[in-house]
Symmetry: C2
Subunit: 126 residues, 2 copies
DNA sequence: TACATCTATTGACTAATAGAGAATAGTGTG
DNA sequence: CACACTATTCTCTATTAGTCAATAGATGTA
């Protein structure tokens, strides 16, 4: 089963189950950082919150992996949740100081991206 | 030399030469389609035009490869330029009918992305 | 207690993409 | 001819992403 990325835009409305575009994946990282900064959360919650952002097509393991990798990089830190849980112990993630800095870079990038997309949208309308 | 993507946001303002974010790469495909639709062009020109969009950090081979792959997919078509050139013959790309459809999908995706980013920006300001 | 179900997270395997550098090649200029 | 500039292609390898399966605690229920 091909999981094309290049070529994503062909099957978006056509074929079987709809997959997300590469853009979706690219936004995952800042989205997680922003939500974690808002309020420390665990992966399962973040998974649901991504849904409400329209990034809900991402496979859980992609999200968990991203979280683990960002922790290795020192952008976020996790502690085991001591409160009662309806399941196995879960990691609560919070932003580190380094993560704050990284998030600032990401904000600049998001701004630039907004700008670029807007330019593209204008160009196509004329 | 590591060409990290995950981890991009660390070195953006810090280390050596600045690389682009994954977002930049994700936008390349629709950007090319839009510019080609505006006016058929060859790769070298597109390369320069990307610059003015703020996507100038992309390596030429990435851009040429993307063009070739989009041609294989049937989204664009190329003819050798018959006019005089100041160099070797060059391919002029133009959008196909299929490419028009793909571009529409991309436009939806760009809209959605604008939306998501805006939501994220709002959330971080409060 | 055996079993299903829901909450949570992790691991392993492989396909696909991206980044870099070098190769190829035509044209014009000193 | 050597060099610079225009233009495109190729190859090699690092990195990322997608999928599936495994692990595991808690809760309910037959």
């Amino acid at each position: 089963m091909p999981r094309r990325h290049r070529g994503w835009a062909m099957g978006a409305g056509g074929g079987g189950g709809n997959r997300h575009s590469p853009l979706t994946v690219s936004i995952l990282e800042p989205a997680l950082l922003i939500m974690i900064k808002e309020r420390p959360r665990h992966g399962y919650t973040l998974l649901a919150d991504l849904e409400s952002l329209g990034l809900g097509t991402l496979h859980p393991s992609v999200v968990y992996r991203t979280l683990r990798e960002m922790e290795v990089l020192g952008w976020i830190r996790s502690d085991w949740d001591t409160g009662q849980t309806q399941g196995p112990p879960r990691r609560i993630y919070q932003l580190t100081d380094q993560g704050e800095g990284v998030l600032k870079n990401w904000q600049n990038e998001l701004d630039k991206t907004q700008d670029t997309i807007q330019q593209l949208q204008k160009r196509i309308q004329s």
